[in-house]
């Protein structure tokens, strides 16, 4: 099935909105990971976080590009020019953080959720879209293993355990918006087969996986919040000032919403 030829305009717009959310997740998280460059807790981790960041930008591109090509707009505009109120990423990934424990907490919570959402797209029937989701999914195991290793390592000391517990209790409630897409829109996407499963139907699986993995931590309240109504719904364009500041930082002074690069050519092609 083709998004361009087989769906009506409204459904195409719904699909685009959904895909932009997925892309925004990757874009914002990729950016937060890149902020660790030269500041990583170990040299090796510095390299690893940079590699993960590169992967995330690659995944963002897979979906921004798909929307740009099939629904309209320009790749750079979608990625770089949209203001916070236009973004649809989960608030889980937008926190400006300086504690590595936060990085690990978000890495774990986010990648555990993304695994499910990517499969819903990969198992859908829009071939090119499915292939892109499958490509992103194939590059994620390394990220999940990274989170898993650090969840174990950080608890080896009392301080590590304490900081990680704090980080997880901050991250989990923010993750309440990850699956909080508007039901009517996603129902259409599932009916037409663009998505194999509705995000709301994936949420219980995420809660179960996270509860099990984090059973050793005192996180009952945080897990309840993760399973409840989000305080701030990034899927509906509700975001923190931290996202505003992050997006401002992408542009030179005075250029927000108007990315300067209009044309890209190889030097020997000019």
């Amino acid at each position: 099935m083709s998004l361009t030829t087989d769906l009506d305009a409204d459904l195409r717009d719904s699909a685009a909105a959904f895909l932009l959310a997925v892309a925004d997740d990757d874009f914002v998280w990729g950016h937060r990971l890149s902020e660790w460059v030269a500041l990583g807790p170990t040299m090796e981790e510095d390299n690893t976080l940079a590699a993960m960041s590169q992967d995330e930008f690659g995944h963002a591109r897979l979906f921004y590009e798909y929307v740009a090509d099939h629904v309209g707009s320009d790749l750079d505009h979608l990625a770089l020019n949209r203001r916070a109120e236009e973004r649809r990423n989960t608030t889980l990934v937008e926190a400006d953080h300086a504690d590595f424990a936060d990085t690990v907490a978000i890495n774990y919570c986010y990648d555990e959720a993304e695994r499910l959402l990517l499969s819903a797209v990969a198992d859908g029937n829009v071939e090119e879209l499915s292939a892109r989701a499958a490509q992103a999914r194939s590059e994620e195991p390394f990220h999940r293993e990274h989170a898993d290793r650090w969840l174990d390592r950080l608890v080896a000391t009392d301080e590590g355990r304490e900081r990680l517990t704090r980080a997880l209790s901050d991250a989990l409630p923010r993750a309440a918006d990850y699956f909080a897409f508007e039901d009517a829109a996603t129902a259409e996407l599932v009916d037409t087969g663009v998505l194999a499963t509705a995000p709301a139907d994936l949420r219980p699986e995420w809660i179960e996986a996270v509860s099990e993995r984090l059973v050793e931590f005192p996180l009952e309240d945080a897990l309840d919040a993760a399973a409840g109504e989000p305080a701030l719904n990034g899927r509906a364009g509700e975001h923190t000032d931290e996202l505003d500041a992050m997006l401002d930082g992408l542009h030179p002074e005075g250029h927000v919403g108007d990315h300067p690069i209009q044309d890209y050519q190889r030097a020997d092609a000019r």
Binding site: T42, E44, E45, T48, F142, H146, R153, A156, T157
Partner: protein, 58 residues
């Protein structure tokens, strides 16, 4: 604080069980070092035989 975790990767994130052949000397006595090397498509290994590091394209 202990420096037990000074190296954040090790055998627990090795790509696979198959032995990797050193491209310099051909030996299979090689040790996995790091999942991401100089770029995202490189895995870092060390050859115990010729004592050189090398990367695998993966």
């Amino acid at each position: 604080m202990s420096n037990r975790f000074a190296r954040s990767s090790g055998p627990d994130d090795a790509p696979g069980e198959e032995p990797v052949r050193c491209p310099h000397c051909g030996s299979l006595d090689t040790a996995f070092e790091q999942r991401k090397g100089t770029s995202i498509c490189r895995v870092l290994y060390f050859c115990n035989d010729c004592a050189q590091p090398f990367e695998e394209f993966r």
